[in-house]
């Protein structure tokens, strides 16, 4: 466990540095065009080369990573909140409300996520905000279903009845006992979703339905680089490596955390 967790933690810390203080260390303005140095390869002044407009790729990548990661975090957090609210309402109130909410959740989950996301993003129009909305619309239902399940299980636990029977306030019991037992699986689930969401965002941006220029974004940058695969391969290689880095750091951390909870199937990686 130890090594993987350490590697994951280090990778995530580096990522956090890139995302939150990266703009301070970026050597160039990511929007600054300089046509005299366009499409240059790796050099001392531009450590990852320059793009079609002579912008520094390294600086752009720093900003682009920020964009992708921030959107994934927003999507995950907002869906988690929506899912939590609806899931717990369904579970606590129960009856017709539960039935109604569950049918709605069923419907949302009956759509293949990607088709649904593309449809919404396409109809709303491609932009960073709309892709965030589209991803939230398509992902809240799974959180809600999960929260509902957890709350129902927690409600059944003997100590809940016991504490109510012993005269504890019902509301207090829920806050003190039921909710904590939801948070652990919910946060684990949400953490797993970060990498997935990140992949969805870069994929949608790659097909032009996501973040739009001039905002730098990793998937969109790869899309733009398609023209230059022969002449300037660094334009697609670096953003791709960066996506893999980000997703890998979330995956390895998630993996080692899961091993931590379930040591039966744990095993170390070769790193």
């Amino acid at each position: 466990m130890g090594k993987n967790l350490k590697v994951g933690a280090i990778m995530i810390s580096i990522l956090a540095v890139i995302v939150f203080i990266g703009p301070l260390i970026a050597p160039y303005d990511p929007y600054q065009v300089n046509m005299s140095v366009k499409l240059q390869g790796v050099s001392a002044s531009h450590i990852m080369g320059t793009d079609q407009l002579g912008r520094d790729l390294f600086s752009r990548l720093i900003y682009a990573t920020g964009t992708s990661v921030k959107i994934s975090l927003i999507v995950v957090i907002v869906s988690m909140i929506i899912g939590f609210v609806f899931g717990s309402i369904a579970a606590f109130i129960g009856g017709a409300v539960d039935e109604f909410l569950m049918r709605i959740i069923d419907v949302f989950m009956a759509f293949p996520t990607k088709i649904f996301t593309i449809a919404i993003a396409g109809i709303l129009g491609a932009s960073a905000i709309n892709i965030t909305i589209a991803l939230i619309i398509t992902s809240w239902a799974s959180y809600a279903r999960m929260v509902r399940g957890c709350v129902l299980t927690a409600k059944e636990l003997p100590f809940i009845d016991a504490s109510i029977a012993l005269g504890a306030n019902r509301g207090y019991t829920i806050i003190r006992h039921v909710l904590p037992s939801v948070f652990q699986p919910l946060s684990t689930f949400a953490f797993q979703r970060i990498a997935h969401t990140m992949m969805a965002i870069v994929g949608l941006s790659f097909i032009g339905l996501g973040v739009q220029p001039p905002t730098p974004e990793l998937g969109a940058m790869i899309n733009e680089s398609k023209n230059f695969m022969t002449t300037a391969p660094h334009l697609f290689i670096f953003p791709g490596l960066l996506i893999s880095y980000v997703v890998f750091s979330f995956n390895i951390l998630d993996d080692s955390l899961r091993d931590y909870w379930d040591p039966r199937i744990k095993s170390e990686l070769v790193l």
Partner: protein, 519 residues
């Protein structure tokens, strides 16, 4: 289960190996042999089967003819051998050549000619033509067709409109109900040098020689036009040897070979053929919804603030910057002005802005995300305009949203074009600047009375010299008014394998009638 699993495993291994063999068997010796077939990559579907459309430009040029054509800015005979303007310019009468046949062997007479115009009028598809003003169409005999106008024919531009792609003449069997032009077009039967042999929507169209064509027969036995939507994919296709040539969209402006890949292709030994068009990409202002743009100083400031050479730099030197007013020297009617009124000067732009009281001006630019060059150019403009203290905001969106947003007031500039393929220069220029034409967009290039007068004097006269003079006036007028910011002159490119010989440009359209190919 065990057994089943084994079976599946064996099967899949075999399948994988077979795939592998197919993949590796791509080695062939090459000697230079004459090819009878040419494969072209093209970014649009040819639309040979269409409910309401008329077919794509390439299709209409390959397999169709119109009453007249426009070459070097002049209307020349085609299906019609002559024409006459009568009744105080209220009627135009075309004499149709005798003995013409469609590719399916049926006769081409005035009756068939009328079909297409009936269709366009019924379906209200009369962009860039004057068909909306037509009162009635008469066919006194097999070789005559008369068009009567409601309130007079609109000069030369109306005549040139008959050369529009949409007015390509097709046979009566083209329609689902033969002879009923309001029914969907189920086959493209034209009278051009080629005929459509096979059409698979969004995949390919094959053309073979039309044996009923009365002109000189084409040389190749077959041309396959592969529809490849992605610009980069077409380039990869020719590099991989899947196609022999790439042709830009005949209209220009979209679905073209990425300009910054042309140098690479040239280095790799492909021929690059270029034909400049009388089409200028400009930065247009939202003056109809946005009062500020009615101030000429602001329009001039924008002109001074943009360095066109740098924009042309986006295209790796393959496209010329629009330094010399509006159109390049590609047609007798589009001769350049010979002066550069607004040389790049950020200081001047700044002072003009100050005069307008617009320091820290922050205009919003609409950008169509489907055109990558447009996006790149917008990003370049954003960075460039900073020098003049203009803080350009970009709003990038897909084509539909773009079209929608254009109508609103919440934007300032966008990338637009004036002119077009040669057969369209009359109607397009009139449509862009004359508010009284149906094509006139609510927003676009700034226009004024002097510009409207000038454009009329350019597109109306039947006399060639008067038109030439008119065009000069027209350019001078839009230049003086700083109606928009000309950015670069567009061009049509054909990229072809070394062995492809005989690609010609008629007007601004690539033609493959005389092409031979040795591989």
């Amino acid at each position: 289960m065990n057994l089943k699993l084994k079976k599946i495993l064996c099967f899949s291994m075999t399948a994988l190996m077979m795939v592998g063999f197919v993949g590796c068997s791509n080695v062939g010796a090459s000697t230079k042999t004459a090819q009878t077939e040419l494969k072209i990559a093209y970014g649009k579907d040819t639309g040979a089967v269409s409910e309401k459309g008329n077919g794509d430009m390439l299709l209409t040029i390959f397999a169709g003819e119109r009453l007249v054509e426009v070459v070097d800015g002049e209307v020349v005979p085609s299906i019609a051998e002559s024409w006459e303007v009568k009744d105080a310019e209220n009627c135009i009468s075309f004499k149709i050549k005798k003995g013409l046949k469609f590719s399916d062997g049926t006769d081409l007479t005035a009756k068939e000619v009328k079909l297409k115009f009936d269709r366009n009028i019924a379906l209200k598809s009369f962009q860039w033509t004057e068909l909306d003003r037509i009162d009635k169409i008469e066919i006194p005999d097999d070789n005559t067709i008369n068009f009567y106008y409601k309130d007079g024919m609109d000069g030369y531009v109306a005549l040139a409109g008959f050369a529009e792609y949409g007015n390509t003449i097709v046979g009566s069997n083209s329609f689902q109900t033969p002879g009923d032009p309001t029914t969907p077009m189920v086959e493209f039967i034209g009278s051009g040098p080629w005929k459509v042999e096979e059409y698979v929507k969004d995949q390919y169209t094959t053309f073979v020689p039309n044996e009923n064509y009365i002109g000189e027969a084409v040389k190749l036995e077959k041309v396959t036009v592969n529809m490849i939507k992605d610009d980069e994919a077409r380039v990869l296709a020719i590099q991989a040897g899947d196609v022999d040539a790439i042709v830009d969209y005949y209209h220009g402006g979209s679905a073209y070979t990425p300009r910054n890949l042309l140098s690479t292709l040239k280095e790799e030994g492909f021929q690059i053929l270029k034909q400049e068009m009388p089409m200028t990409t400009v930065l247009a202002f939202n003056y109809t919804n946005n009062e500020a743009w009615k101030n000429i100083k602001l329009r001039q400031a924008m002109n001074y603030a943009i360095n066109k050479d740098e924009i042309a730099g986006l295209f790796d030197g393959w496209i010329s910057p629009a330094n010399d007013a509006y159109f390049s020297d590609c047609s007798p009617f589009t001769t350049a002005l010979g002066k550069q009124s607004y040389k790049y000067d950020p200081e001047k732009a700044k002072s003009l802005l100050a005069e307008c009281g617009l320091e820290g001006f922050s205009p919003k630019m609409l950008v169509n995300s489907e055109n990558i060059d447009e996006v790149k150019m917008a990003e370049l403009l954003q960075s460039m305009l900073k020098e003049s203290g203009i803080n350009l905001q970009l709003d990038v969106m897909d084509a539909t949203k773009f079209a929608e947003a254009k109508k609103g007031a919440d934007w300032d500039v966008y990338s637009y074009y004036i002119g077009g393929p040669e057969r369209r220069i009359y109607s397009r220029n009139e449509g862009r600047f004359d508010k009284s034409t149906p094509e006139f967009g609510a927003s676009g290039c700034y226009t004024s009375e002097s510009i409207v007068t000038a454009v009329q004097s350019a597109v109306d006269p039947f006399d060639e010299n008067e038109r030439k003079k008119g065009f000069k006036e027209f350019y001078a007028a839009i230049d003086a008014e700083a109606a928009c910011v000309p950015l670069y002159y567009d061009a049509v490119f054909v990229v072809a394998n070394e062995g492809v010989k005989g690609i010609e440009f008629v007007g601004t359209e690539p033609v493959f009638d005389n092409v031979t190919y040795k591989k």
